[in-house]
Symmetry: C2
Subunit: 259 residues, 2 copies
């Protein structure tokens, strides 16, 4: 595999740092190629602004059209083009981050906001009354696989089916389906390490053993069976799931996974 | 009211800019006080790092403990303390932003990550086997009200009950429940403007009329009836909803709203 790890934690000597180090060692040890973007070490710029689009920036700024024009003309900034090239190179993408406020840290969101430009992350394919783009299973990153690896401060019960924070699968849906599957990547089940705030040495060893196993299994792991937008399950252009396709009792985000 | 608007868009001459301008004019015109944090204009720093905690920063960095210590000792940076002061001053908080990748832009997530420190946004109250903090209905911002106002590029059907992106209420749950209700604010129903990419003059007028009405109604709007963590509905410390409390068919995030 060619694995691209996007690492988003302010302290390299952290649990997240350890998980990324283990991933690099385990994967290279098994003969895979690995590249890492350590966003904090790179001092990654988190905010979209006119500087991203150079001569393609319009006045007033239109982040969608301007990013698309800069993408088409090859005038995006070097930092954005480098990340897009890493995504093109990879066949497997891992996002490693702590869950902060039930989603990714700002620096990682800023990586998505800036790198997933119009024409690359979205706005791919025809958009008309009978087709609403190549997305959700199709797109510029089609054929690649992606996985989240995250640490969570609270205990697992808070993220269970009846947990107050909501089920972890639902919290991750906007990232897994909305960001990774949207431009065409298949999404593997996430690796989630709970209770990360006060982890014992024993728990750490158990967790890292599981992590190594998960990494070595990657080539054979089945993705989450999300429905493709353009495979007939959805009314187009409304992008509503056709009636009666879901398993009994499935609602909300769960509708978009094959029964 | 004392209304604090946090505005997150890179272009002031945008739909988001117009909605914030209308909010300021409408609310001040009705005799309310308004303060605005225009995050792009302030060049808001999005990323948590050791610089946020000054002498309270430990090696290796621990963002939770360090932010708590800096909060307690009044040594957070000026920019963070100013935002916390605005939150203390306000009785009503509005977050105005475009929905990017199914959640807030990085700069606004960075405002949450940095301003909602331990001891202020979370980690308030006792944490032991019979109590898991003052949160979800209680906390440092208890008694205040908050609302999201957002623009969405896609059409409403994509965010409907069977829409491919998932229902908008579920997409916003991690923000409304996880960020706003968590430190104690009551959350008002969101103002959502769909199809923001190509809005006609007529739609704009209709939308801004609705927005003005929504703003003037604010003092009388009922909040979303989320369950309080410490009101008896949850097993503690597991924070799982006790069996049988929900309306028939409610699952996932919907469990945490009173039947």
């Amino acid at each position: 595999m060619k694995v691209f790890i996007v690492h988003a934690h302010p302290e390299r000597k952290s649990l997240n740092g350890a998980l990324t180090d283990i991933a690099v060692d385990t994967l290279t040890g098994a003969g895979h190629e690995v590249r890492v973007s350590d966003l904090y070490a790179m001092r990654w710029k988190s905010t979209i602004d006119a500087d991203d689009f150079g001569p393609a920036a319009s006045t007033p700024l239109d982040a969608t059209l301007d990013s698309g024009r800069a993408f088409e003309t090859g005038t995006l900034t070097d930092d954005i083009r480098a990340e897009q090239d890493k995504l093109r190179w990879a066949d497997t993408v891992i996002l490693q981050f702590p869950l902060w406020w039930y989603t990714m840290p700002a620096i990682l969101k800023g990586w998505v906001d800036r790198v997933f430009t119009y024409g690359f992350g979205y706005g791919v394919g025809e958009h008309n009354e009978t087709r609403y783009g190549d997305r959700f299973g199709e797109g510029a990153l089609q054929g690649k696989r992606a996985m989240l690896s995250l640490t969570v401060g609270g205990p697992e019960s808070h993220y269970s089916d009846r947990g107050i924070n909501g089920p972890i699968d639902d919290l991750l849906y906007p990232i897994q389906h909305g960001i990774l599957y949207h431009p065409g990547m298949q999404v593997l089940p996430p690796f989630v390490l709970y209770g990360a705030g006060r982890i014992s040495a024993e728990t750490f060893t158990t967790a890292t053993d599981l992590w190594k196993e998960c990494l070595l299994d990657l080539p054979h792991t089945d993705p989450i069976p999300y429905r493709t937008q353009n495979g007939g399950d959805y009314e187009i252009p409304a992008a509503r799931l056709r009636p009666g396709l879901e398993a009994p009792g499935r609602t909300g985000f769960g509708l978009h996974i094959h029964a």
